[in-house]
């Protein structure tokens, strides 16, 4: 496939890795923010191609992993209500809530459907006016334009039996939270290329200069990731801290203006609650007042406000894994009581979760 194969060829990948080795003189820790990149790094063994001095730490950029368990409980409650068709992306089904997951709820008779796009849920709403269609709208800035459009379209068509249960997160505030943490070891970032395709990268410029960290907007293919690492290390070695764009073929500085305008029209920024991490200011999205009637929590009651922070089983360190402080192998449950078939924490469920990626490829 064009735009894929050429970035997976062994020759250039080896050459890029060799260039990284040549310029690295000191120890550096770089975080890839996005779970998609974590997946590619572990799958292709890219971290093993880097000099020992360079370590990659895996970031919190997997929406399946950071959706709080009380929201999953709420999803289950809604899905089991009479007259509801509950729609979700497939990988949410096996994420444990505090008592069970959506798959169990489906077994108990909930009408739960896996959809590929929020527009599929909207079509179901048109087709079944007698049912309430609720869509589990989880994601980062990449997914927000799709959810915004589904809600906007529902309002244009005056569709009344459609609502979304929102679990939406913004990346830049999470990066700042990581940088301000006492335990922080991250010296440079690979920013998530597709988040930037939507949002652009101007928002990272103040972060790079305030915290003196280089930020490189990076794509998802092996050669992209290695070039991202190369550019990041080159900045670190030269003592620079700016924003660079590795993913030139897909990302503009201002992002996708049409998508940004729709997000802005439908959503407003609110505090975000991240599973395993806790609350981060200005890191979540909620529907604006004009669209509040499409909020599933308005129709079915708000999710129970659990104790903030960690709600995992006591042995699970996924909160630390998500912040790049610990690696999956450092968890005593990893591969023992916690596997993709019996996940104990969210980072073991999604293929973009660091624990699942390590389990699958290591």
């Amino acid at each position: 496939m064009k735009f894929i194969d050429e970035y997976r060829e062994a020759g250039p990948i080896r050459e890029m890795a060799a260039e990284i080795r040549k310029i690295t003189t000191r120890s550096w820790t770089i975080m890839e923010v996005c779970g998609g990149q974590t997946h590619a790094i572990v799958k292709y063994g890219l971290d093993k191609m880097l000099p020992e001095k360079v370590s990659l730490s895996h970031g919190p950029g997997c929406p399946v992993c950071v959706t709080p368990s009380e929201l999953i409980d709420k999803a289950i409650e809604i899905a089991l209500s009479p007259g509801v068709i509950f729609c979700s992306f497939g990988d949410m089904l096996r994420v444990p809530g505090t008592k069970k997951d959506l798959l169990r709820a489906k077994g108990e008779g909930g009408d739960i459907r896996v959809v590929y796009s929020p527009l599929d849920a909207l079509s179901l709403a048109r087709k079944h006016p007698e049912k309430e269609i609720v869509f589990f709208a989880i994601g980062f800035e990449t997914t927000a334009p799709a959810h915004a459009m589904a809600v906007y379209q529902a309002s244009l068509e005056r569709i009344k039996n459609f609502s979304i249960l929102i679990s939406h997160f913004l990346v830049p505030p999470a990066m700042e939270a990581i940088l301000s943490s006492r335990d922080n070891r991250v010296q440079g970032f690979l920013a998530a290329g597709h988040v930037c395709a939507v949002m652009g990268y101007f928002e990272y410029e103040p972060i790079a200069s305030r915290y003196r960290v280089p930020v490189v907007v990076t794509g998802f293919e092996p050669l992209d990731i290695l070039q991202g690492v190369y550019l990041c290390i080159r900045q670190l070695e030269e003592g620079r801290a700016g924003v660079e764009n590795q993913y030139l073929r897909a990302v503009l500085r201002e992002g996708n203006i049409h998508a940004r305008q729709m997000i802005e029209k439908v959503f407003e920024i609110v505090p975000g609650k991240w599973r395993g991490i806790g609350e981060i200011l200005q890191s979540g999205l909620a529907l604006r007042k004009e669209f509040a009637r499409y909020d599933a929590e308005g129709r079915f009651g708000p999710a129970r406000d659990e104790v903030r922070g960690v709600t995992e089983s006591p042995d699970c360190i996924s909160g630390l894994v998500l912040q790049g402080i610990r690696k999956p192998e450092e968890c005593s449950s990893f591969g023992r009581s916690c596997t993709p078939d019996h996940p104990a924490g969210a980072t073991m469920v999604s293929s973009e979760g660091a624990c699942a990626a390590y389990y699958r490829y290591r």
Binding site: C62, V64, Y116, P118, L119, P145, H194, D224, E352
Partner: protein, 79 residues
């Protein structure tokens, strides 16, 4: 779920949103093209949960290889 992949636009229509058939290495899917209003048949887009979020720039696509060549030339010049 965040994996967004490149595909080639094969047809474009508007009903009720601008939609197109996009080919992902042999598999065709309906994709909303509302956010890439300038897209034409034959263009490549990155698609995420049924929406094209960006148009791929053919001219920039080869830059990575050019840069790699330049880095190496620079080094050869140094030594």
């Amino acid at each position: 779920m965040c994996l967004a992949v490149p595909g080639k636009i094969e047809t474009i229509s508007d009903s009720p949103l601008i939609t197109g058939k996009v080919n992902f290495g042999g598999i065709q899917k309906d994709v909303a093209l509302v956010y890439v209003p300038g897209a034409k048949v034959g263009d490549y887009v990155i698609v995420h949960v049924g929406f094209a979020i960006t148009l791929l720039n053919e001219k920039e696509a080869g830059r990575i290889f050019e840069t790699l060549r330049q880095i190496k030339e620079l080094e050869e010049g140094d030594s």
